[in-house]
Symmetry: D2
Subunit: 366 residues, 4 copies
């Protein structure tokens, strides 16, 4: 056993002489870009996550009219690329970011409008709250967008959108823009100004190849892909799966996440993992009068009310939920939902990132 | 560089004296169970696979009446367990094995009959050529069996069958019995004498939970399983996927295995791998007049004609194919199919075993 | 709830008429190669593994002199390829197999002898009980063989051996010949008649590249291989690792398998898995007076006493262990070791095969 | 083919009226935290990474004296925790970050000093440029720190340091603090004020268990870990591996990354992957007069000259390299090294993060 002793222990740290020397040192540190950990440790390494992002809720009743107004004033075209309006977390001023890793936006396409093709390393999806008439063309494959559908645009896939109907359509866009921007991983490239295949098939080619449960084309078998080859997760099977979980609960069989709470995750059939490499996407359904356990996780997430109403409690802050409302759950924020009647919500999060890095923590708090 | 020299090189190996010494040595080897490699190498380690199993074809028109006859003479019950009759490869006399790893059988259940529950470490499936009215109950979950369906019984899952109809039903059973028997990996256990759940639901519980494309219950997500949690692969989506591949070919898009040849693999949605741990299961469809490339692989396989007719060529031996016919392709046997009209075939093989052991080889030979 | 009933239930099964019909049926079955499961189920699907292979022990004191005698009578050369004498399990007559999956042999190389190069899909290794002076040349890389070393020959790597010394050398060869032969996966090819690199370096090239703990050449990083790129596991680090486990036990820290029982597994640095795709290789050390727990597993294994002595109990059969003795533990055989003084044993098994197929079972029985 | 048309196409966008409406819209967006993508796209989604972090080099000759001065003025103890001074990239003012994901610091421990135990989810390592006499105690296991060694502190492992010598010691610390801080994944916990085991063994317990090449304790086998169980990568084997690669190049065998350029990656023996979950660590050696290919990658990295000298070119900026110098290579910065005499460099990067997320891109540019 060695006796340890700090050499500086006999110094009078409060003396003016010492303080002057310290000030000199810190000035010299500064000159070469050095920053002492002992002056920054608490900020850099808190005892638990202390996100700048705050819990926040946007009303669909406010968002949608603003998006619609912009359609009269701003064209969609090359350069701006999309009539998408990002939801900026009040805790992250300056950045139009929902959380430090996630971007959420309303995208609005007026009748007969077209959004040009491009591609980027950022992963993206669209979730359709209401409406139809738009096809998103992913790597040349036109994919219909309809109420309740989740449509993927994996990283580096070309994509554009066209509205072939006489009514406008709006939806939720989710991307990992903040993660990719903050870590300098982004590439972007323009494609054709108009979608390369203006077809409007009921079922896209990727769905015809990959849309059967547990069915893999032999020509593509045994080749895991980082993101799903299936670009459309349709509302009908999602709805049926959620309904089935609750019915199985009534029949005394497993399936639900917790009492009265059904949920499905959208997954990549070539691996069984998340449909996108950096974002988890799920649909949740609560029976009327169900309250979920209070939980918190280091993943941050964004939720949208698909149908029904209720209440969300975020670190004790209670907010009512109405059709289309979007809210953010920052890292380590205590979270619970309460349904009035049946309540369906779509959600996406950055959980896959932190699972892959062995950083994700989740706990039930109440 | 060292000069090498065999010490025995000056010996006269043909001398009677030497031969006598050798005979002595071999006798002494034998006494302690020693066998010289130099006398057995060619048999043990051939230049390429030289399977004892031979290409062989059984006619459904012969198999089915025999199975039906047995129903009048032999009851189904505890001990014998199943009215299943194994197809023995003529090259493997004594063992009722289709190949060194695969067991294939016709199982026949008379009207109102019941096959008692049991479980075993062997993986199993049923493929339904025709008929309906039977439910197989897998770990307490009744699964309807209908024409064109593939039904799984993963290793160690309890299972029994019941025919609730007034007509008999027969199907193809596939198991890895020879592999498990030959390597001493088998366990077997009796369950209830009658299936534990006599329900006859249209859709089993596992299908309700896992039957949506790319949809994973959140309560089970992130937990890969060695075999599929989905126990039924229904004919309708299989048929649609095969049809879509051929339509996509007509439209100029990828999907088929080769010209005029569509195929889907039944996969485990929790991993994207094969539905069963030891057996690959697939459905193939050839357009009329299509001839497949000649290939050979070290996997052995069994095929059944589901619909249509044509010809199979196995190491040059040509056989016509008719409804329900079953044939065996041994390891390294050159194999090609020719369709007359549309030809649908179900197949299973031991390929996953040798993929996992880095032993599988496949080549196109013509 | 449906009432189930076997249609044949009213038949008098013992009547001569019925027996005659049955005999007819079985004859007809036989004619087309059909075998009823109900007459074979117990043999094909036993309640637990009932291996034909039996526990068996060979005395090194018997094996070595026989191997030496063969050197005077049989040359090593093209065709026979190796002076290797396989140990045939008495329960597997006709096949020179230690277990249904494993081949174990003594290989003997006389002074200045050379064993020609060949390659095969079978995985192989050499374990050196005693002696030195031989280099095994694996894919052109000469690897010294010395006491206590494990030397790998992964599947399809060319290899030959040369003895550059004036003394003979014998060692234990292990291969997966029975597994590969029984499943028709074997390919074999001749190489040069004399090893292509007659160098005798102290350290082989693969050791120079891969022999540092946790050090991966950047030029090969991120590319998992099915078997180890490190071909030699030297006695010195193996010995040190075993010694360290026992010392850590004395110091109150984890490391040993159980009290007084140290063991290391030879692993593939590119994956952390077993060094060979189909065979597990390990070195075990028991302190004097240690008795291991009784266990049984569905893997079969072969063991060789490297140093020290003691006792092995195999399904209740007790045998003394002496220097170099080789014994076989069949599937599901209860197994325990007892050390007199310190006891070191090398072992190999087929466990990786059944782990990958989710078939492996192991239990502690006492 | 549908004709597409932007509804706003007939609007006069430059009219004052339109501009006023737009201003109103943007004010209303702002009020609810909405930000239009069309005004921010180029910044959020550049055509290629445009890092704020800049290439930068710090001279060891400047850093070390400043670190030494701080030892006279600032004690090491609870709260500040470490006498570590972070190197702040000039492009990232305000944050003491080397890159958006990596933190690099000089840590200095005076004679007989002790740095208290703590743990955090951030992964960490120490690389020792010179000196010895300090033991870092990781989860209770004292690990000697000596010249050329890499010492790991995986996430959530308790660790403290003690200098038992009469000379100070300084080293390079690397952590993923910016990544963890920016994504709100950090947890931190204090441990004992003095290291819990003041022993000074030559070899730590983890080295005794895991330090043999390809040797895995059977008690821990078959259990992949997210980070390495081996906490110390010693200079002697690293040096030998680098020397061997260059010797093999001279002998005409593969091993080096490119002509004259040897490199080893520090890896996790339980998986073959990177030693730490979020950071890649490597040691590089260039022969005298070697110039490496110009490359760029989306990973950002920090390098330290371990011995020798030369030149680094970062996006065309050329800087001389001297003993101990530290430099930063931001994402997508073109990078090349030139050695005068032999040149050894240690480096760490965030590459594993982006490999796991399928975002990493690397290209050779010259």
């Amino acid at each position: 056993m060695t006796t340890l002793q700090n050499p500086a222990s006999s110094v009078d740290f409060d003396s003016p002489e010492h303080q002057a020397k310290l000030a000199d040192l810190y000035r010299d540190f500064d000159a070469v870009g050095m920053t002492p950990l002992w002056r920054t440790r608490e900020g850099l390494m808190p005892f638990h996550p202390e996100p700048r992002a705050v819990p926040h809720l946007w009303r669909w009743a406010e968002l949608y009219p603003l998006a619609a107004r912009s359609a009269d004033l701003v064209p969609v075209g090359r350069g701006g690329e999309r009539r998408a309006i990002g939801l900026g977390n009040p805790g992250l001023p300056g950045d139009p970011y929902a959380t430090p890793t996630l971007w959420a936006a309303i995208q609005y396409l007026a009748p007969r409008e077209n959004a040009p093709e491009h591609r980027h390393t950022q992963s993206a999806f669209r979730f359709v709250l209401e409406g139809e008439g738009v096809w998103t063309v992913v790597d040349g494959d036109p994919v219909a967008m309809r109420r309740g559908d989740l449509l993927l645009t994996p990283g580096w896939a070309f994509h554009g959108h066209q509205n072939v109907s006489d009514t406008p359509m709006a939806w939720l866009d989710g991307l990992d823009i903040p993660l990719v921007a903050g870590t300098d991983q982004g590439f972007f490239e323009f494609g054709p100004d108009v979608v390369r295949d203006a077809g409007t098939p009921h079922r896209s080619r990727n769905e015809r190849l990959w849309g059967g449960p547990g069915l893999t084309p032999v020509s593509a078998a045994g080749q895991p892909r980082p993101s799903s080859p299936l670009m459309a997760y349709r509302w009908a099977p999602t709805d049926a799966a959620l309904a089935a979980q609750l019915e199985l609960e009534d029949e005394g069989h497993p399936g639900v996440v917790e009492a009265g709470h059904a949920a499905v995750r959208f997954t990549n059939p070539t691996t069984g993992g998340d449909a996108l490499t950096t974002m988890r996407t799920e649909m949740h359904r609560l029976r009327g009068d169900t309250t979920t356990r209070k939980t918190r996780t280091t993943a941050s997430s964004v939720w949208q009310v698909f149908s029904g109403g209720g209440t969300v409690v975020l670190d004790g802050m209670e907010r009512s939920l109405e059709h289309g409302d979007v809210f953010v759950v920052p890292s380590w924020c205590e979270f619970s939902l309460q349904a009035e009647g049946d309540l369906d919500l779509f959600t996406f999060s950055d959980a896959p990132v932190f699972e892959k890095l062995s950083l994700l923590r989740t706990e039930v708090t109440g």
